[in-house]
Protein backbone atom coordinates (compact mmCIF):
# COMPACT_ATOMS: atom_id res chain seq x y z
CA UNK A 1 0.00 0.00 0.00
CA UNK A 2 2.93 2.29 0.68
CA UNK A 3 4.55 1.79 -2.70
CA UNK A 4 2.83 3.23 -5.69
CA UNK A 5 2.40 1.62 -9.11
CA UNK A 6 3.38 3.68 -12.17
CA UNK A 7 1.10 3.68 -15.20
CA UNK A 8 0.54 5.55 -18.46
CA UNK A 9 -2.83 6.98 -19.33
CA UNK A 10 -3.87 5.57 -22.70
CA UNK A 11 -7.50 6.64 -22.82
CA UNK A 12 -9.97 8.90 -21.06
CA UNK A 13 -13.41 7.44 -20.45
CA UNK A 14 -15.73 9.94 -22.11
CA UNK A 15 -18.92 9.01 -20.24
CA UNK A 16 -17.15 9.20 -16.85
CA UNK A 17 -14.83 12.20 -16.79
CA UNK A 18 -12.88 11.11 -13.71
CA UNK A 19 -11.97 7.71 -15.12
CA UNK A 20 -8.99 6.89 -17.27
CA UNK A 21 -7.57 3.74 -18.78
CA UNK A 22 -4.04 3.20 -17.58
CA UNK A 23 -1.48 0.79 -18.94
CA UNK A 24 0.97 -0.86 -16.57
CA UNK A 25 3.49 -3.09 -18.34
CA UNK A 26 0.97 -4.17 -20.93
CA UNK A 27 -2.03 -4.55 -18.65
CA UNK A 28 -4.82 -2.02 -19.15
CA UNK A 29 -7.27 -1.14 -16.42
CA UNK A 30 -9.56 1.71 -15.48
CA UNK A 31 -8.32 3.88 -12.65
CA UNK A 32 -9.94 6.81 -10.91
CA UNK A 33 -8.41 10.19 -11.77
CA UNK A 34 -10.58 12.12 -9.29
CA UNK A 35 -7.71 12.93 -6.95
CA UNK A 36 -5.96 14.76 -9.80
CA UNK A 37 -9.08 16.77 -10.71
CA UNK A 38 -7.34 20.13 -10.15
CA UNK A 39 -5.06 19.40 -13.06
CA UNK A 40 -6.44 16.38 -14.85
CA UNK A 41 -3.80 14.40 -16.73
CA UNK A 42 -4.34 13.53 -20.36
CA UNK A 43 -3.58 10.66 -22.68
CA UNK A 44 0.16 9.96 -22.69
CA UNK A 45 0.73 11.29 -19.17
CA UNK A 46 2.26 9.08 -16.48
CA UNK A 47 0.81 8.74 -13.01
CA UNK A 48 1.48 6.96 -9.73
CA UNK A 49 -1.43 4.77 -8.67
CA UNK A 50 -2.45 3.79 -5.15
CA UNK A 51 -5.32 1.32 -4.70
CA UNK A 52 -6.91 2.11 -8.04
CA UNK A 53 -6.61 5.90 -7.79
CA UNK A 54 -4.04 8.03 -9.59
CA UNK A 55 -2.35 10.03 -6.86
CA UNK A 56 0.32 12.07 -8.62
CA UNK A 57 1.64 12.92 -12.05
CA UNK A 58 5.19 11.87 -12.75
CA UNK A 59 7.62 11.81 -15.64
CA UNK A 60 8.18 8.76 -17.80
CA UNK A 61 11.68 8.57 -16.34
CA UNK A 62 10.30 8.48 -12.80
CA UNK A 63 7.75 5.85 -13.86
CA UNK A 64 10.55 3.62 -15.14
CA UNK A 65 12.49 4.11 -11.89
CA UNK A 66 9.43 3.26 -9.83
CA UNK A 67 8.79 0.05 -11.78
CA UNK A 68 12.41 -0.95 -11.28
CA UNK A 69 12.12 -0.33 -7.53
CA UNK A 70 9.05 -2.55 -7.39
CA UNK A 71 10.96 -5.23 -9.28
CA UNK A 72 14.01 -5.06 -7.06
CA UNK A 73 11.89 -5.05 -3.90
CA UNK A 74 10.19 -8.20 -5.20
CA UNK A 75 6.89 -6.33 -5.23
CA UNK A 76 6.38 -6.26 -9.00
CA UNK A 77 4.24 -9.39 -9.13
CA UNK A 78 2.09 -8.20 -6.25
CA UNK A 79 1.76 -4.85 -8.05
CA UNK A 80 0.65 -6.55 -11.27
CA UNK A 81 -1.74 -8.77 -9.32
CA UNK A 82 -3.18 -5.58 -7.88
CA UNK A 83 -3.50 -3.93 -11.29
CA UNK A 84 -5.09 -7.03 -12.83
CA UNK A 85 -7.49 -7.12 -9.89
CA UNK A 86 -8.78 -3.58 -10.47
CA UNK A 87 -12.37 -3.81 -11.63
CA UNK A 88 -12.74 -7.15 -9.83
CA UNK A 89 -10.65 -9.80 -11.55
CA UNK A 90 -10.47 -8.07 -14.86
CA UNK A 91 -14.19 -8.20 -15.55
CA UNK A 92 -13.96 -4.51 -16.13
CA UNK A 93 -11.02 -4.84 -18.46
CA UNK A 94 -10.61 -1.89 -20.70
Amino acid sequence: MCLAIPGKIVELVSEQPNLGVVEVTGVRRRVDLGLLQDDLPGVGDWVLIHVGFAMSRISQHEAEDQMRILRVLGEDQAAMEEVRGYGLDGKDEA
Partner: protein
Amino acid sequence: MKFVDEFRDPEVIGRTAEEIRRLADPGRHYRLMEVCGGHTHAIYRFGLKDVLPANIELIHGPGCPVCVLPMGRIDDGLALARRPDVIFSAFGDMMRVPGAHGSPLEHKAKGLDVRIVYSPSDALKLARTNPDRHVVFFAIGFETTAPSTALTLLRARAEGLENFSVFCNHVTIIPAIRAILDSPDMRLDGFIGPGHVSTVIGCRPYEWIARDEGKPIVVTGFEPLDLLQGIVMLLRQLKEGRAEVENQYTRVVPWEGNRAALRAMAEVFQLRPYFEWRGLGFISQSALRIRDEFAQWDAERVFSVAGVRVTDPKAAQCGEVLKGVLKPVQCKLFGRECTPEHPVGALMVSSEGSCAAYFNYEHRKASASMTSLAAPV
Protein backbone atom coordinates in the same frame (compact mmCIF):
# COMPACT_ATOMS: atom_id res chain seq x y z
CA MET B 1 25.67 -3.09 -1.18
CA LYS B 2 23.86 -5.96 -2.77
CA PHE B 3 21.74 -4.51 -5.52
CA VAL B 4 23.53 -1.40 -6.63
CA ASP B 5 24.23 -2.80 -10.06
CA GLU B 6 20.55 -2.83 -10.84
CA PHE B 7 20.35 0.91 -10.29
CA ARG B 8 21.78 3.78 -12.21
CA ASP B 9 24.98 5.51 -11.25
CA PRO B 10 26.72 3.08 -8.92
CA GLU B 11 29.56 5.59 -8.86
CA VAL B 12 27.26 8.28 -7.52
CA ILE B 13 26.12 5.84 -4.85
CA GLY B 14 29.73 5.21 -3.88
CA ARG B 15 30.41 8.95 -3.68
CA THR B 16 27.28 9.52 -1.60
CA ALA B 17 28.24 6.75 0.81
CA GLU B 18 31.66 8.38 1.07
CA GLU B 19 30.05 11.72 1.86
CA ILE B 20 28.05 10.07 4.64
CA ARG B 21 31.27 8.78 6.16
CA ARG B 22 32.79 12.25 5.90
CA LEU B 23 29.79 13.99 7.49
CA ALA B 24 29.29 11.54 10.36
CA ASP B 25 31.17 12.54 13.48
CA PRO B 26 32.95 9.35 14.60
CA GLY B 27 32.47 10.33 18.23
CA ARG B 28 28.71 10.47 17.90
CA HIS B 29 26.03 7.79 17.59
CA TYR B 30 23.21 8.77 15.22
CA ARG B 31 19.72 7.38 15.54
CA LEU B 32 17.63 8.16 12.47
CA MET B 33 14.06 6.90 12.12
CA GLU B 34 12.58 5.95 8.78
CA VAL B 35 8.90 6.53 9.39
CA CYS B 36 7.55 4.63 6.38
CA GLY B 37 7.28 0.86 6.15
CA GLY B 38 8.15 1.04 2.44
CA HIS B 39 11.48 2.57 3.42
CA THR B 40 12.05 -0.18 5.99
CA HIS B 41 11.52 -2.77 3.28
CA ALA B 42 13.86 -0.94 0.89
CA ILE B 43 16.58 -0.48 3.53
CA TYR B 44 16.72 -4.21 4.23
CA ARG B 45 16.38 -5.19 0.59
CA PHE B 46 19.24 -2.97 -0.53
CA GLY B 47 21.40 -3.91 2.44
CA LEU B 48 21.91 -0.23 3.22
CA LYS B 49 23.14 -1.10 6.69
CA ASP B 50 26.26 -2.54 5.06
CA VAL B 51 27.27 0.77 3.50
CA LEU B 52 26.52 2.98 6.48
CA PRO B 53 29.11 3.59 9.17
CA ALA B 54 28.43 1.62 12.36
CA ASN B 55 27.52 4.77 14.29
CA ILE B 56 24.50 5.47 12.06
CA GLU B 57 21.60 3.43 13.33
CA LEU B 58 18.33 3.30 11.40
CA ILE B 59 15.29 2.89 13.63
CA HIS B 60 12.17 1.48 12.00
CA GLY B 61 9.11 3.62 12.50
CA PRO B 62 5.38 3.01 12.76
CA GLY B 63 4.51 3.58 9.09
CA CYS B 64 3.07 0.17 8.29
CA PRO B 65 -0.72 0.48 8.48
CA VAL B 66 -1.35 -3.24 8.87
CA CYS B 67 1.18 -3.41 11.72
CA VAL B 68 -0.22 -0.60 13.85
CA LEU B 69 -3.82 -1.78 13.74
CA PRO B 70 -4.78 -3.32 17.10
CA MET B 71 -6.11 -6.82 16.95
CA GLY B 72 -9.48 -5.75 18.36
CA ARG B 73 -10.28 -3.76 15.21
CA ILE B 74 -9.73 -6.87 13.08
CA ASP B 75 -12.09 -8.81 15.34
CA ASP B 76 -14.65 -6.01 15.16
CA GLY B 77 -14.43 -6.12 11.38
CA LEU B 78 -14.72 -9.90 11.29
CA ALA B 79 -17.79 -9.73 13.54
CA LEU B 80 -19.44 -7.84 10.69
CA ALA B 81 -18.27 -10.51 8.25
CA ARG B 82 -20.19 -13.10 10.27
CA ARG B 83 -23.51 -11.41 9.50
CA PRO B 84 -25.27 -13.43 6.79
CA ASP B 85 -26.30 -10.33 4.86
CA VAL B 86 -22.76 -8.94 4.67
CA ILE B 87 -20.03 -9.21 2.06
CA PHE B 88 -16.81 -8.27 3.83
CA SER B 89 -14.16 -6.76 1.58
CA ALA B 90 -10.57 -5.78 2.35
CA PHE B 91 -7.18 -5.29 0.70
CA GLY B 92 -5.05 -8.40 0.26
CA ASP B 93 -2.56 -7.09 2.85
CA MET B 94 -5.19 -7.55 5.54
CA MET B 95 -6.13 -11.10 4.67
CA ARG B 96 -3.47 -12.92 6.67
CA VAL B 97 -3.41 -10.59 9.67
CA PRO B 98 -4.42 -12.61 12.70
CA GLY B 99 -7.34 -11.51 14.85
CA ALA B 100 -8.02 -13.21 18.18
CA HIS B 101 -10.07 -15.87 16.37
CA GLY B 102 -8.18 -16.12 13.11
CA SER B 103 -7.44 -13.97 10.09
CA PRO B 104 -9.90 -12.79 7.43
CA LEU B 105 -8.53 -15.54 5.17
CA GLU B 106 -9.26 -18.20 7.79
CA HIS B 107 -12.78 -16.80 8.15
CA LYS B 108 -13.15 -17.07 4.39
CA ALA B 109 -12.03 -20.70 4.54
CA LYS B 110 -14.80 -21.31 7.09
CA GLY B 111 -17.31 -20.17 4.52
CA LEU B 112 -17.82 -16.50 5.34
CA ASP B 113 -18.20 -14.15 2.39
CA VAL B 114 -14.81 -12.42 2.58
CA ARG B 115 -13.51 -10.84 -0.64
CA ILE B 116 -10.19 -9.35 -1.58
CA VAL B 117 -10.46 -6.03 -3.37
CA TYR B 118 -7.58 -4.00 -4.74
CA SER B 119 -9.40 -0.71 -4.66
CA PRO B 120 -12.20 0.75 -2.53
CA SER B 121 -14.02 1.57 -5.75
CA ASP B 122 -14.24 -2.17 -6.40
CA ALA B 123 -15.95 -2.64 -3.04
CA LEU B 124 -18.43 -0.07 -4.27
CA LYS B 125 -18.84 -2.06 -7.44
CA LEU B 126 -19.56 -5.18 -5.38
CA ALA B 127 -22.36 -3.26 -3.70
CA ARG B 128 -23.81 -2.23 -7.07
CA THR B 129 -23.79 -5.78 -8.36
CA ASN B 130 -25.11 -7.34 -5.13
CA PRO B 131 -28.11 -5.15 -4.29
CA ASP B 132 -29.56 -7.74 -1.89
CA ARG B 133 -26.40 -7.84 0.26
CA HIS B 134 -24.58 -5.20 2.29
CA VAL B 135 -20.93 -4.66 1.34
CA VAL B 136 -18.59 -3.57 4.12
CA PHE B 137 -15.19 -2.24 3.06
CA PHE B 138 -12.52 -2.61 5.74
CA ALA B 139 -10.57 0.60 5.13
CA ILE B 140 -7.00 0.81 6.28
CA GLY B 141 -3.97 2.95 5.64
CA PHE B 142 -2.34 6.31 6.17
CA GLU B 143 -2.83 9.31 3.93
CA THR B 144 -1.80 7.32 0.86
CA THR B 145 -5.07 5.39 0.86
CA ALA B 146 -7.43 7.59 2.90
CA PRO B 147 -8.21 9.97 -0.01
CA SER B 148 -9.32 7.02 -2.15
CA THR B 149 -11.71 5.88 0.55
CA ALA B 150 -12.98 9.47 0.83
CA LEU B 151 -13.63 9.70 -2.89
CA THR B 152 -15.35 6.31 -2.82
CA LEU B 153 -17.71 7.54 -0.08
CA LEU B 154 -18.43 10.69 -2.08
CA ARG B 155 -19.32 8.48 -5.05
CA ALA B 156 -21.53 6.26 -2.84
CA ARG B 157 -23.43 9.32 -1.71
CA ALA B 158 -23.74 10.70 -5.23
CA GLU B 159 -25.18 7.38 -6.38
CA GLY B 160 -27.42 7.05 -3.31
CA LEU B 161 -26.06 3.55 -2.78
CA GLU B 162 -27.67 2.15 0.36
CA ASN B 163 -26.02 -1.24 0.72
CA PHE B 164 -22.43 -0.07 1.17
CA SER B 165 -20.48 1.04 4.20
CA VAL B 166 -16.89 1.59 5.28
CA PHE B 167 -15.35 0.27 8.49
CA CYS B 168 -12.86 3.06 8.83
CA ASN B 169 -9.42 2.36 10.27
CA HIS B 170 -7.52 5.17 8.58
CA VAL B 171 -4.78 6.71 10.65
CA THR B 172 -2.63 9.79 10.20
CA ILE B 173 1.12 9.87 10.36
CA ILE B 174 1.81 13.10 12.24
CA PRO B 175 0.34 12.11 15.65
CA ALA B 176 2.28 8.85 15.51
CA ILE B 177 5.53 10.79 15.08
CA ARG B 178 4.49 13.01 17.98
CA ALA B 179 3.80 9.97 20.18
CA ILE B 180 7.23 8.57 19.37
CA LEU B 181 8.93 11.87 20.17
CA ASP B 182 6.97 12.05 23.44
CA SER B 183 7.99 8.54 24.42
CA PRO B 184 10.51 8.76 27.27
CA ASP B 185 12.60 5.77 26.19
CA MET B 186 13.17 7.08 22.66
CA ARG B 187 16.09 9.21 21.58
CA LEU B 188 16.20 10.18 17.92
CA ASP B 189 18.38 12.58 15.97
CA GLY B 190 16.23 12.97 12.87
CA PHE B 191 13.66 11.49 10.54
CA ILE B 192 13.67 10.07 7.04
CA GLY B 193 10.22 11.35 6.09
CA PRO B 194 7.73 9.17 4.21
CA GLY B 195 7.68 9.43 0.43
CA HIS B 196 4.21 8.62 -0.79
CA VAL B 197 2.28 9.84 2.26
CA SER B 198 3.93 13.18 1.56
CA THR B 199 2.61 13.29 -2.01
CA VAL B 200 -0.75 13.77 -0.28
CA ILE B 201 0.04 15.83 2.83
CA GLY B 202 3.04 17.70 1.43
CA CYS B 203 5.90 18.89 3.63
CA ARG B 204 4.29 21.58 5.79
CA PRO B 205 2.73 19.21 8.37
CA TYR B 206 6.27 18.25 9.44
CA GLU B 207 7.36 21.79 10.25
CA TRP B 208 6.68 21.47 14.01
CA ILE B 209 9.16 18.57 14.19
CA ALA B 210 11.94 20.93 13.13
CA ARG B 211 10.66 24.07 14.83
CA ASP B 212 9.42 22.72 18.18
CA GLU B 213 11.39 19.52 18.60
CA GLY B 214 14.60 20.67 16.97
CA LYS B 215 14.83 17.54 14.80
CA PRO B 216 15.61 17.57 11.09
CA ILE B 217 13.33 15.66 8.75
CA VAL B 218 13.97 14.91 5.10
CA VAL B 219 11.18 13.60 2.88
CA THR B 220 12.91 10.88 0.88
CA GLY B 221 12.35 8.59 -2.11
CA PHE B 222 12.73 4.83 -2.26
CA GLU B 223 15.82 4.15 -4.37
CA PRO B 224 19.09 3.35 -2.64
CA LEU B 225 20.49 6.67 -3.87
CA ASP B 226 17.42 8.50 -2.55
CA LEU B 227 17.84 6.97 0.88
CA LEU B 228 21.55 7.70 0.98
CA GLN B 229 20.97 11.29 -0.17
CA GLY B 230 18.27 11.68 2.49
CA ILE B 231 20.79 10.55 5.10
CA VAL B 232 23.38 12.99 3.72
CA MET B 233 20.86 15.83 4.03
CA LEU B 234 20.06 14.82 7.62
CA LEU B 235 23.73 14.57 8.59
CA ARG B 236 24.49 17.91 6.98
CA GLN B 237 21.74 19.56 9.00
CA LEU B 238 22.98 17.92 12.19
CA LYS B 239 26.55 18.97 11.48
CA GLU B 240 25.52 22.56 10.84
CA GLY B 241 23.20 22.63 13.85
CA ARG B 242 20.12 23.14 11.67
CA ALA B 243 16.70 21.53 12.09
CA GLU B 244 14.58 21.96 8.97
CA VAL B 245 12.09 20.16 6.79
CA GLU B 246 13.77 19.30 3.50
CA ASN B 247 12.48 17.47 0.47
CA GLN B 248 14.83 15.05 -1.25
CA TYR B 249 11.96 13.53 -3.27
CA THR B 250 10.99 16.70 -5.17
CA ARG B 251 10.49 14.77 -8.38
CA VAL B 252 7.32 13.26 -6.87
CA VAL B 253 6.43 15.20 -3.71
CA PRO B 254 5.11 18.77 -4.08
CA TRP B 255 5.69 20.95 -1.00
CA GLU B 256 1.94 21.63 -0.73
CA GLY B 257 0.85 18.03 -1.28
CA ASN B 258 -2.22 17.02 -3.26
CA ARG B 259 -4.93 19.61 -2.54
CA ALA B 260 -7.75 17.67 -4.21
CA ALA B 261 -6.93 14.64 -2.06
CA LEU B 262 -6.81 16.76 1.11
CA ARG B 263 -10.15 18.35 0.19
CA ALA B 264 -11.81 14.97 -0.28
CA MET B 265 -10.45 13.77 3.07
CA ALA B 266 -11.63 16.92 4.84
CA GLU B 267 -15.09 16.61 3.36
CA VAL B 268 -15.61 13.00 4.39
CA PHE B 269 -13.49 12.47 7.52
CA GLN B 270 -12.92 14.14 10.83
CA LEU B 271 -10.39 13.31 13.52
CA ARG B 272 -11.38 10.81 16.17
CA PRO B 273 -10.78 12.08 19.70
CA TYR B 274 -8.45 9.12 20.21
CA PHE B 275 -7.59 5.79 18.61
CA GLU B 276 -5.66 2.79 19.79
CA TRP B 277 -2.42 1.94 17.98
CA ARG B 278 -0.70 -1.36 18.43
CA GLY B 279 2.43 -0.73 20.42
CA LEU B 280 1.86 2.97 20.85
CA GLY B 281 -1.38 2.77 22.86
CA PHE B 282 -4.12 5.38 22.62
CA ILE B 283 -3.10 8.46 20.67
CA SER B 284 -5.37 11.47 20.62
CA GLN B 285 -6.57 12.81 17.26
CA SER B 286 -4.57 10.21 15.39
CA ALA B 287 -7.21 8.52 13.28
CA LEU B 288 -10.08 9.36 10.99
CA ARG B 289 -13.76 8.75 11.47
CA ILE B 290 -16.52 9.27 8.97
CA ARG B 291 -18.38 12.57 9.34
CA ASP B 292 -22.02 12.63 10.47
CA GLU B 293 -23.12 13.68 6.97
CA PHE B 294 -21.94 10.26 5.76
CA ALA B 295 -23.26 8.29 8.77
CA GLN B 296 -25.35 5.97 6.60
CA TRP B 297 -22.14 4.72 4.97
CA ASP B 298 -20.27 4.30 8.25
CA ALA B 299 -20.23 0.61 9.22
CA GLU B 300 -19.62 1.56 12.85
CA ARG B 301 -22.97 3.33 12.88
CA VAL B 302 -24.91 1.12 10.47
CA PHE B 303 -24.11 -1.89 12.65
CA SER B 304 -23.34 -1.95 16.31
CA VAL B 305 -19.65 -2.60 16.63
CA ALA B 306 -18.54 -4.05 19.94
CA GLY B 307 -15.26 -2.15 20.20
CA VAL B 308 -13.35 -5.28 21.16
CA ARG B 309 -10.03 -4.83 22.90
CA VAL B 310 -7.64 -7.74 22.59
CA THR B 311 -4.26 -7.92 24.23
CA ASP B 312 -1.48 -9.09 21.97
CA PRO B 313 -0.09 -12.58 22.66
CA LYS B 314 1.90 -12.13 25.84
CA ALA B 315 5.25 -13.29 24.54
CA ALA B 316 5.04 -11.18 21.37
CA GLN B 317 6.80 -7.83 21.62
CA CYS B 318 5.28 -6.16 18.57
CA GLY B 319 4.82 -2.94 20.52
CA GLU B 320 8.45 -2.54 21.46
CA VAL B 321 9.53 -3.35 17.91
CA LEU B 322 7.02 -0.84 16.50
CA LYS B 323 8.34 1.90 18.73
CA GLY B 324 11.88 1.08 17.67
CA VAL B 325 12.88 0.13 21.21
CA LEU B 326 13.62 -3.48 20.24
CA LYS B 327 15.07 -4.85 17.01
CA PRO B 328 12.88 -7.59 15.45
CA VAL B 329 15.41 -10.26 16.31
CA GLN B 330 15.26 -9.27 20.00
CA CYS B 331 11.63 -10.40 20.26
CA LYS B 332 11.36 -13.79 21.94
CA LEU B 333 9.08 -15.19 19.23
CA PHE B 334 11.04 -13.92 16.21
CA GLY B 335 11.95 -16.67 13.77
CA ARG B 336 10.62 -19.38 16.10
CA GLU B 337 6.89 -19.20 16.81
CA CYS B 338 6.54 -16.13 14.57
CA THR B 339 7.58 -16.42 10.92
CA PRO B 340 6.16 -15.02 7.66
CA GLU B 341 4.58 -18.45 7.04
CA HIS B 342 2.98 -18.51 10.52
CA PRO B 343 2.79 -14.92 11.74
CA VAL B 344 1.84 -14.24 15.34
CA GLY B 345 2.04 -10.47 15.00
CA ALA B 346 1.16 -8.18 12.13
CA LEU B 347 4.75 -6.98 11.70
CA MET B 348 5.55 -10.42 10.32
CA VAL B 349 2.66 -10.34 7.82
CA SER B 350 3.14 -7.21 5.77
CA SER B 351 6.19 -6.80 3.56
CA GLU B 352 6.37 -3.31 5.04
CA GLY B 353 6.57 -4.71 8.56
CA SER B 354 10.04 -4.58 10.03
CA CYS B 355 9.87 -8.19 11.27
CA ALA B 356 9.02 -9.58 7.83
CA ALA B 357 11.70 -7.40 6.21
CA TYR B 358 14.28 -8.46 8.77
CA PHE B 359 13.28 -12.11 8.46
CA ASN B 360 13.34 -12.16 4.67
CA TYR B 361 16.62 -10.36 4.18
CA GLU B 362 18.72 -10.74 7.32
CA HIS B 363 17.51 -13.86 9.08
CA ARG B 364 17.28 -16.04 5.97
CA LYS B 365 20.74 -14.83 4.88
CA ALA B 366 22.20 -15.64 8.30
CA SER B 367 20.48 -19.03 8.34
CA ALA B 368 21.81 -19.80 4.86
CA SER B 369 25.36 -18.98 5.82
CA MET B 370 25.05 -21.08 9.00
CA THR B 371 23.80 -23.97 6.87
CA SER B 372 26.67 -23.62 4.45
CA LEU B 373 29.13 -23.56 7.36
CA ALA B 374 27.57 -26.68 8.82
CA ALA B 375 27.51 -28.56 5.52
CA PRO B 376 30.19 -31.22 5.05
CA VAL B 377 32.95 -30.08 2.74
